[in-house]
Symmetry: C2
DNA sequence: GCTTAGTTTCTACATGAGGTAGAACAGCGT
DNA sequence: ACGCTGTTCTACCTCATGTAGAAACTAAGC
């Protein structure tokens, strides 16, 4: 499955931020951002990493299909293939999909959702 | 997180079956069942495993909090702590929970649900 | 053209999870 | 006391992930 490690997730957080801003990041960007990110912030990494470390992670994320790399430009540009929300929703479907009793799962899932979110869901379901 | 390996999942599948039937399984039960399980069936394991292998897995699942073991009886009794549906729903919440943009995620999630399931969801949300 | 600083690729090592199982120990029925 | 079955301990292998050095590569200036 597409389960991410801690560092992978941090890098994805940075890339996802760029995704919202429709920005393709370079390695340098990412390093700068990761240095800037504070504890608790998305993309936070508690230490200084070697450039190669980040590149390795980027390659692995690319292999996993989460990151796309523009090889044409000179510093390559890296960007998340899909938004964080899309990715998370997909993950939820993956989790759900492996169940033979989807209905039961959905029932439990709905059962433990906050009142406000239940409201949100109701609204979302009106249209479809 | 509670991400399971292949064998762990197979064992959980057997235990979950027992959970529905309100049955606590012994090691022997599980081995017999796993041998019986056919390809595609829940709890399927393609080969004969050593007893210790299954026991190790059970211990790890116990450590993860997914399995409870009755140590009083002589062959110990093993059982799933919660139903598969509960577990899966919990997993979905975990996935969702790590997102800062829960609403957006829910929107995407709902967006890619089948029509029939959307209907199910609507019904489920009526009561709450 | 040649050096240089930043980029990318290759290769490597450490750690931890999970699959797998032997060795040894413990309790029960005979 | 003996042996069978279940349990515990320990161990090994593989793979994912974190981490990074060494080397190859490239654009830009001198």
């Amino acid at each position: 499955m597409a389960t991410l490690g801690e560092l992978e997730r941090a890098v994805m957080d940075l890339l996802w931020a760029g995704h919202e801003a429709a920005t393709a990041n370079t390695l340098r960007d990412l390093l700068a951002q990761s240095t800037r990110a504070q504890d608790g912030t998305a993309g936070h990494v508690g230490k200084d990493l070697a450039v190669t470390t980040v590149l390795t992670v980027l390659s692995r994320l690319e292999r996993k299909g989460l990151v796309e790399r523009e090889r044409g430009t000179r510093p390559h540009r890296y960007q998340a293939v899909s938004s964080r929300a899309d990715h998370t929703a997909e993950l939820m479907h993956e989790v759900l999909g492996s169940a033979p009793d989807r209905e039961a799962v959905l029932a439990r899932f709905i059962g433990s959702v906050s009142a406000t979110e239940a409201e949100t869901l109701r609204k979302l379901l009106e249209h479809s």
